[in-house]
Amino acid sequence: MNVAVAPAAGYPRWRQRLSPWSVGAAAMISVLLVPIAVVALSMLGRSSPTWQHICDTVLTTYLWNTALLVAGVGACTLVIGVSCAWLVTFYRFPGRAVLSWALVLPFAIPTYIAAYCYADLQDLVGVDMMNLPGAILVVSLVLYPYVYLITCSTLQGQSGRILESSQSLGRGAAYSFWRLGFPIARPAIVGGMTLVTMEVLNEYGAVHYYGVDTFTTGIFKVWYGMDDTQGAMRLAATLMMLVLALLLLERLQRGRKQFTTCGSDYRPCMPGQLRGSVSWLAAGWCTLPVLLGFLFPVGQLLIWLKQSGASSFGAGFAKIAGQSFVLASCAALTTVIVAVILAYTVRLHRSRLITALSKASALGYSMPGAVIAIGVMVTVVAADRGVLRHVAGFFGAKPGLILTSSIVVLLFAYVLRYLTVAVNPIEAGFERLCGSMDEASRALGHSPLKTLLQVNLPLAKSTLIAAALLVFVDVLKELPLTLILRPTNFETLATKTFELAGEEMIAQSAIGALLIVATGIVPILILDRLLCSKRPT
């Protein structure tokens, strides 16, 4: 018969493990993780006198305020998120269809913008918001969608049969939810609250504006006010330990129990009809978060915009907006490229090391922006002073700080912080869309690179776009990291809004804030689609 001779281009086994892919991905992640390691290692170093001073004076305040903020926001988001998710999933009442997605809208409002909008409340109704309870309320109003969304999707994923069997055993709907629906959704709810807590720890603009001293504001004070790198690093490291402990706790609470509905018994549950005043109460309860978390801030911004006009943002509004969009686009593109390489290498090699590295890359997202910024700053300055001076000296050039305060460093920090936002959907997309298609391509004689370009990427196109958009919006509204790492006099929409608010010119910042909010609605639409496609049909 006519058999093509196998080319049989064999090579030593070690080269299979050390392919350009695995080496490249490992190198990328290692470089990305350096700043985090630098912060962690600072705990071991010598403590400065200022650090001693910080410990003696403000550390307790930082800890206490941060703890109260986390606990308060946790409790509020739990109550708002779970109650609304429960009502929307299990009952019919007026406006339910609109509210079920409108409840996600506060996602679009960054905490610092919500904080500015509520600061005026004292003038309006005589309530002083500029304190810890005020900060808790405002932050909760825009962060509860984490809990709401995740609870909704878990409750909807539960089979209606579970509740039906409970009802057939003579239990009412409310009791069934308390004993079955809520406990089954518990790990997901805790997962959502973990995300909320991370956002709270990352929070800078709102607490700074409301004058609440937390770890993040402390890092800024020590870094800029006292000019003490060591002290700021130690604060960052302490905050990092808190985050790691939190992640560990979250992992532990999930335990061994299986909480997914088993088998083919899935059937969506039929929501029960609420009647009379109860139904209006439910509608009112679910409208309140949308009203306070989205409509009020947006309304306030619109009023300000009308008062001060579009030109008040400063002459450079178009320039700053353009700059922000270009920066966010570059960050999104870089992040997606790194994420694709990482996700594809995981798929290609399925080795323990690569998988572990890909998991480790998620650390960036759980770290507060200020912690990452400090780590990146210290690393880059050291690299500039050390390595580059040698290189420059070799060529006879005058050494300067080349990397420090450059856009490249800012991009690097964004990739570190938001890599997971892109890796997760891309990994899932490759898994879901490509099945064994990339292996089929290999069996037909195409190299891994060609397979990626011809099979994986075209098939996962919409996932790639979604991932890029998610990163884009996150970068656009990012504040603490950008504040620390941006080049001098480089403004983004977020930093300019923050500055104007700080100079008591909130009204003038309205146009920038509105633009951030408007782009923030985009990922909500994407998220809704992603969640919909995950639901069993």
């Binding site: 001779v5 196998a6 049989a8 064994s436 298609m437 292996e439 391509s441 290999r442 037909l444 075209p458």
Partner: protein
């Protein structure tokens, strides 16, 4: 015939797995031969195929193709450089390419005129000529199947691997396509390794059957030899309904109490006689040593469960007699239809 594909002591152990997915498998496949790998799911069949395709790395052992080493503890050859093509479960057709582009995908080393000619040939061979501009989702299950085969055959691979190619089709359709496909493979002369868990498919299409159980290759032979002369209880029961009847020593000879007959064997320690239910003769006899326990009408035959020498024997009876529960009967089987094994397990 010369060996195209050679496996020597190939072993693959996955992390956290109880036993090796593939344990010490050695196999020689001749050029143009069709071998089916038969076994239950989880028996290591698919892993063996993926090892040959280059998608998994063996822990130990060697895989050679036409004398060249593909895998050894020192060497590795990437899947794309092996000249082995694979048809995956569920076909894995590229949904963003037409039928024609799918088939052309593996022909990138050909000149374009030769490529067009080859595509035409494959389209004709697989009877897909009018469908070349369709996308996979616009085809029936059977047509998708044929595109997958055409795509894999087109680059003229040294070896074709097929992983449960019918698992996504319904049974009646699968039988029809199986026969078409078997003809196609024979005509193309490709050396083929075919994984299935359906005994009927394995018997119908293969030159030889390799039975795998818990990662081990337990028996290799022609369909007839594997069916009629199984080496273990597992193989006997996998290939079709079987009675495994106790064999004991009596007066220096081997005796099967359930059949009340001596059996012939050269095994030093025989344990069971394998007798297919179709091969047992059942006769009504007043003083018969066996009793009918249960009867079930099965259309073309009557299935009887008979108690004989404190063993239950299944019989497929096709005669005119109508048995009732409690009837006394006598069982026998022609000596050449009784196969003795040694399987203490």
């Amino acid at each position: 015939m010369s060996a195209a594909l050679v496996l020597r002591d190939v072993t693959k152990q996955f992390r956290n797995a109880e036993h090796a997915a593939v344990a010490n498998v050695s196999l020689e496949v001749s050029v143009g031969e069709v071998i089916t790998i038969l076994g239950e799911s989880g028996g290591g069949k698919s892993t063996l195929l993926r090892l040959i395709g280059g998608f998994e790395l063996p822990d130990l052992g060697e895989i050679l193709l036409n004398g060249e080493t593909l895998n050894s503890p020192q060497m590795f050859c990437a899947p794309e450089s092996r000249g082995i093509s694979m048809v995956f479960q569920g076909h894995s057709l590229f949904p963003h390419m037409t039928v024609r582009d799918n088939i052309a995908y593996g022909l990138h080393r050909m000149k374009s005129s030769a490529r067009d000619q080859e595509i035409e040939r494959m389209l004709t061979l697989t009877e897909l000529s009018g469908l070349q501009q369709r996308y996979p989702h616009e085809l029936s299950g059977g047509q998708q199947q044929r595109v997958a085969i055409a795509r894999s055959l087109a680059p003229k691979p040294s070896v074709m691997l097929l992983d449960e190619p019918f698992s996504s089709l319904d049974r009646t359709l699968a039988t029809q396509i199986r026969n078409d496909l078997a003809d196609l493979m024979r005509r193309s002369g490709a050396t083929t390794l075919w994984v299935t868990h359906t005994t009927e498919d394995a018997m119908a299409i293969s030159d030889r059957i390799a039975v795998m159980h818990q990662g081990r290759l337990v028996q290799l032979g022609t369909p007839e030899s594997v069916f009629c002369r199984p080496q273990t209880r597992y193989v006997a029961e996998l290939l079709g309904p079987a009675n495994l009847l106790r064999v004991q020593q009596q007066d220096g000879q081997r005796f099967c109490p359930a059949l009340a007959a001596m059996v012939e064997t050269e095994l030093p320690t025989p344990t069971h006689a394998v007798v297919r239910p179709d091969d047992i003769v059942c006769e009504l006899r007043k003083d018969g040593p066996a009793t009918v326990r249960r009867t079930a009408f099965q259309g073309t035959f009557m299935e009887l469960t008979v108690d004989s020498a404190s063993e239950q024997v299944r019989v497929h009876y096709r005669g005119p007699e109508r048995f009732a529960v409690g009837d006394s009967v006598a069982l026998s089987a022609p000596a050449q239809r009784v196969w003795v094994i040694s399987d203490p397990g």
